[in-house]
């Protein structure tokens, strides 16, 4: 099954998002990295690398979709990717989707057993899902 990696600036936000996914799609492998420890906000590439290894170990070769929140989350992911074997990087795809909405939608779709391409596509659709139904 396709797994998810969540990279954010806040440990609380990332932990909360992991909990939302665990409730909506408990079978989906997910790992998160957020904050700098001690409650400091920020991203740490070495923590991201650990989280990435953890989720890769649970997805066989089905792949991992990465969701980012802001700014340096992308740079932390680049640092983490450099820590990985080149072969492992082929199983990773980075999403442009909004962090919370994209992650939850991706998890629900991934739980259906579709491939990484389909999960990535579903996540990006999250950007255009309306918050309030219009008349």
């Amino acid at each position: 099954m396709v797994g998810l990696l969540l990279v954010g600036h806040s440990e609380d936000v990332v932990r909360g998002l992991v909990a939302m996914i665990a409730q909506a799609a408990p079978s989906v492998p997910v790992a998160g990295a957020g904050g700098l420890g001690d409650g400091r906000l920020g991203t740490n590439g070495l923590d991201v690398a650990d989280a990435l290894r953890s989720v890769l170990a649970r997805t066989a070769d089905d792949g991992v979709l990465v969701l980012l929140d802001l700014g340096s989350a992308s740079m932390a992911l680049d640092v983490a990717l450099d820590e990985l074997d080149v072969a492992a990087r082929e199983h990773i795809r980075v999403s442009e989707a909004p962090f919370v909405e994209g992650a939850v939608l991706a998890a629900v779709v991934a739980a259906g057993g579709v491939d990484l391409e389909a999960v990535a596509h579903a996540a990006e659709r999250a950007a255009s899902v309306p918050k309030r139904t219009r008349d």
């Binding site: 400091r40 920020g42 991203t43 740490n44 590439g45 700014g71 640092v79």
Partner: protein, 259 residues
């Protein structure tokens, strides 16, 4: 870029000297960033997220603890740079931790690759460190000069070093490098940020000194002092003893070297 002088006869001794330069540089950086951490944080509060000084201080204090725990700087300058880079990456966090970490790791990698070739001396070390830092930061940050970043400090410093006449005494060269870095940092004030958190402010980022450019200027000044000090100890470039006009002022607070 290679040093124009022929290979040194005492490579091991030179490698140990380079490691001492890096050790002195990192100790100086830890000390001066610690003193200026509140100023750097205030700069960052104006256009970023207000943690640059505190986080960089925390990372450099961890590097300092590693240096203190080691049995002297040793003679593997590549490993020394790489270990410090990894420590910054893990402890500083955020964009600045990733960028400075990558800068030191790239410099360390290049020193390892060049080991066994013509030993580049203190001047060559400065060149590899600055060139590695610029390459590493530009690649990871996908940045170019003029975007109100660390590169606006580091690129002028590298150009000053590359462009210096080879017959100019190294301490004069390094003084010029430090001053080019500081001028580059000051020149970020009117710029509009194109990278990082400050770029969210758009035009409102103009009028503020970039905190990353400011901390880079501190790091370059320390590198210049460490290299110039090593040159005086070694008598490189035929200059023996303290050279007249050597950078003084805040440069004299270098922590004692462990030998």
């Amino acid at each position: 870029m290679t040093d124009p002088r022929p290979p040194q006869p005492h490579d091991a001794e030179t490698a140990a000297t380079q490691a001492r330069v890096v050790d002195a540089w990192l100790r100086c950086a830890a000390s001066r960033v610690h003193e200026r951490r509140l100023w750097l944080t205030e700069l960052d509060a104006a256009i970023g997220d207000g943690d640059h000084g505190i986080n960089l201080d925390r990372g450099l204090m961890a590097v300092l603890a590693d240096l203190d725990a080691a049995d002297g700087p040793g003679d593997d300058v590549g490993a020394l740079l790489t270990a410090a880079g990894r420590r910054l990456l893990g402890v500083v966090g955020g964009a600045s931790g990733a960028l400075y970490g990558r800068a030191l790791m790239t410099a360390g990698e290049r020193m390892r690759v060049s080991a066994g070739e013509a030993t580049p001396g203190a001047r060559g070390l400065a060149l590899v460190v600055l060139d590695g830092a610029v390459s590493g930061i530009a690649a990871l940050g996908r940045a170019v000069p003029g975007e109100k970043t660390m590169l606006d400090t580091l690129v002028p410093a590298l150009e000053a070093l590359r462009g210096a006449p080879t017959d100019l005494p190294l301490d004069s060269v390094m003084l010029g490098v430090a001053e080019a870095a500081e001028a580059g940092a000051v020149a970020t004030i009117p710029l509009v940020a194109r990278k990082g958190r400050a770029s969210y402010l758009g035009e409102r980022s103009a009028g503020h000194l970039d905190p990353g450019a400011a901390s880079s200027a501190i790091l370059v000044r320390c590198l210049a002092d460490a290299v110039a000090t090593a040159q005086r100890d070694l008598g490189e470039n035929g200059v023996d003893g303290p050279a007249p006009g050597a950078p003084g002022g805040p440069g004299d607070e270098l922590a004692p070297q462990r030998l």
